[in-house]
């Protein structure tokens, strides 16, 4: 996978998820691993080979895999279901809604290869999984930004009682250099870079690109904050409202359609809070894509540092809109 889907100066790690899941399962006997014929591609070969008695391959049958996981959760297990984001979300949505979200079954769904990180083409690209999962009551929705967050997230998911959907890149993932933003708590967003002129709310692979963008903007005198919104639901509204109000210029950046995901979550939140600010979305512009390298696709579909920089500049060139509509204090 080409490194240009994250900031070029970011070091990387391999298979953060697969290792963390085995580590977790060694501690907690109720962890079971459920697959749908994508064991290698979801880094769960390690689990299969070291804890085979708690590894259940359901075959290429995502709907059934979710139902099986829900049944096991009702019986007391903590199932992690592993498949591609696109199949977890599109193919088994009714099953997730009714057997996982509604009963608050303790099922964790790990969806790999979100957005345009896969050369698998339109059928493999989950460009609306955040929209789908966010629309479900009771569902926590997370997207860790680097290997450390992935590791922490695996443990956080198990500690969280109830359903969680996590989307993450497989294989090689970035390791963020700054200490900030590597922790992971469900329900928290992390200010990874301070700034007073604008804020970039980013998730997943877009976080390192956002940091890069902020650095570039700093060189032209714009002081831009970056928030790693690693939990999309429940959203840490207070933090988002506060920083948006302080900066008055908001850009969202996600490896996802601009409809229904982070961009929408932020727009809903700020609109409802009555925050006066300029706002722009960076993301996939409501279009299907094709199969190609992630680097090519990120470039073609505008998931780049440059796109974020441009969005910040565009907002910044508009009329200043710094004053919050009403004062907001952190809860």
């Amino acid at each position: 996978m080409s490194p240009t889907v994250w900031a070029t100066n970011t070091p990387t790690a391999l298979k953060a998820y697969g290792g963390a899941l085995v580590e977790l399962a060694r501690e907690r006997p109720e962890i079971v691993c459920i697959g749908a014929d994508l064991t290698g591609p979801t880094e769960t070969d390690l689990f299969r080979d070291t804890i085979p008695e708690r590894f259940f391959n359901i075959g290429m049958a995502e709907a059934n895999a979710i139902g099986v996981a829900a049944g096991m959760a009702r019986a007391g297990e903590i199932p992690f279901v592993n498949t591609f984001s696109v199949f977890a979300s599109r193919r088994a949505f009714d099953q997730i809604a009714m057997q996982v979200a509604y009963p608050q079954a303790n099922v964790k769904i790990a969806g790999f290869m979100p957005g345009l990180t896969t050369p698998g083409g339109v059928t493999h690209q989950a460009i609306e999984d955040l929209a789908l999962m966010r629309a479900l009551p009771n569902m926590a929705v997370v997207e860790p930004a680097d290997a450390n967050q992935i590791h922490a997230a695996v443990h956080a998911l198990a500690d969280h009682r109830g359903p969680v959907y996590m989307r993450l890149k497989r294989g090689e993932v970035p390791v963020m250099s700054s200490a900030a933003g590597q922790a992971f708590e469900i329900g928290r967003a992390y200010l990874v870079r301070e700034g007073s002129d604008a804020v970039i709310f980013a998730c997943g692979l877009m976080v390192t690109l956002a940091i890069d963008a902020a650095e570039e903007l700093a060189r032209e005198g714009r002081d831009v904050a970056v928030v790693n919104v690693s939990t999309l639901k429940p959203l840490e509204r207070e933090l988002i409202i506060e920083i948006a109000a302080q900066t008055g210029h908001v850009v969202t950046a996600e490896n996802h359609s601009i409809i229904g995901g982070l961009g929408s979550a932020v727009a809903e939140t700020l609109s409802e809070a009555g925050i006066r600010c300029r706002y722009a979305r960076v993301g996939i512009a409501d279009t299907f894509a094709e199969g190609a390298s992630a680097a090519y696709l990120f470039q073609k579909y505008g998931l780049t540092t440059q796109a974020i920089v441009d969005a910040c500049r565009r907002l910044g060139d508009g009329a200043p809109a710094r004053a919050a509509h009403r004062p907001v204090t952190r809860a």
Partner: protein
């Protein structure tokens, strides 16, 4: 609800000490129970004036056989982790499940007076909000998958718990049923027993007029299940089939039980109305028919069943 299950599982110290055995009622008592279930169904549906009535009457013998002979359950402790699980995959047929659960002592039958009313947990299309209901299966075709999860977990935990699922024949049109069928066979889940309620009916009437299923038993056999074809109104056959399923090793069992919607009420039997009207007069007539055909001890309904004592 799953929450309670989780608590149980997390703190085994809290697990109840009560024995948990099959009632093993004989044919006669199961028949009487089926009659009592039918009466309760009729009274419950009559209050609303319509409902999934014909399926309920048709499935009453299956429910009586399961809940009064086969299943290891404790109505006083519906979340006992050692219990057998019984999943009604067609939640729109919940009225027969409610009637059965009331009859079995999960809750007083009077509670069913709120059936179908705003604010009542006894919804027309049932959910797990009702005591004793193991899941929410109004979106059809999902129950068998969840049953597999129970069965896999029981095996993992080395418990005696068996899992039962009652499938609507229309659900065989949903592909998820066959995903589950293949997985259950692949995992050799002999602690899983499926009863297919072959009533020949779906929303629009006769299944054959909608999308014919073709050979049913042959399908389950081809999917690797141990299949028994029985008359779903013959309680003796039902009990035998359930016992055989219990003794079948290495494969999940499917009992294909032919039932007749509305059975045995003369003026309802064999009608293919998916959501049927029931006037007060019809309800009375139906109850009278049941009274007439029932043996003298029709008042069985109120006695509490006592489990046959067997080693745990």
């Amino acid at each position: 609800m799953s929450g309670a299950d989780l608590t149980m599982a997390a703190s085994p110290a809290a697990a109840p000490a009560r024995t948990l055995e099959r009632l093993d009622a004989g044919v006669e008592e199961v028949r009487r129970r089926a009659d009592a279930i039918r009466r309760q169904v009729l009274r419950t549906v009559a209050r609303v004036g319509e409902g999934y009535l014909l399926q309920a009457l048709g499935a009453a013998d299956i429910f009586a056989a399961l809940y009064f002979s086969e299943l290891r359950l404790d109505p006083a402790n519906p979340h006992d982790p050692r219990r057998d699980r019984c999943l009604l995959c067609t939640a729109h047929n919940s009225v027969v499940l409610y009637a059965t659960l009331a009859e079995r002592g999960y809750f007083p039958a009077q509670e069913l007076e709120s059936y179908g009313q705003d604010g009542s947990p006894y919804e027309i299309i049932g959910s797990e909000q009702v005591r004793g209901v193991e899941g929410t299966f109004g979106s059809l075709g999902q129950g068998l998958s969840v049953a597999i999860g129970f069965a896999l977990s029981a095996r993992l935990r080395e418990t005696r718990s068996r899992t039962y699922a009652i499938l609507g024949d229309g659900e065989m049109q949903e592909g998820q049923t066959w995903e589950a069928a293949m997985a259950a066979a692949a995992y050799r889940l002999d602690n899983l027993c499926l009863v297919v309620d072959l009533n020949g009916m779906q929303v629009e009437g006769a299944i054959d007029s909608v999308l014919p299923l073709g050979e049913v038993a042959a399908k389950w056999r081809a999917f690797g299940w141990a299949v028994q074809e029985i008359d779903g109104h013959d309680v003796g056959e039902l009990l035998r089939a359930l016992a055989i399923a219990r003794d079948t090793a290495g494969r999940p069992s499917a009992i294909v039980a032919t039932t007749i919607p509305g059975h045995p009420i003369s003026f309802l039997r064999g009608r293919f109305e998916h959501y049927a009207k029931l006037s007060p007069q019809q309800a009375q007539d139906a109850l009278a028919e049941l009274d007439a055909s029932a043996s003298s001890n029709a008042s069985f309904a109120s006695t509490t069943p006592s489990p046959r004592k067997e080693p745990a």
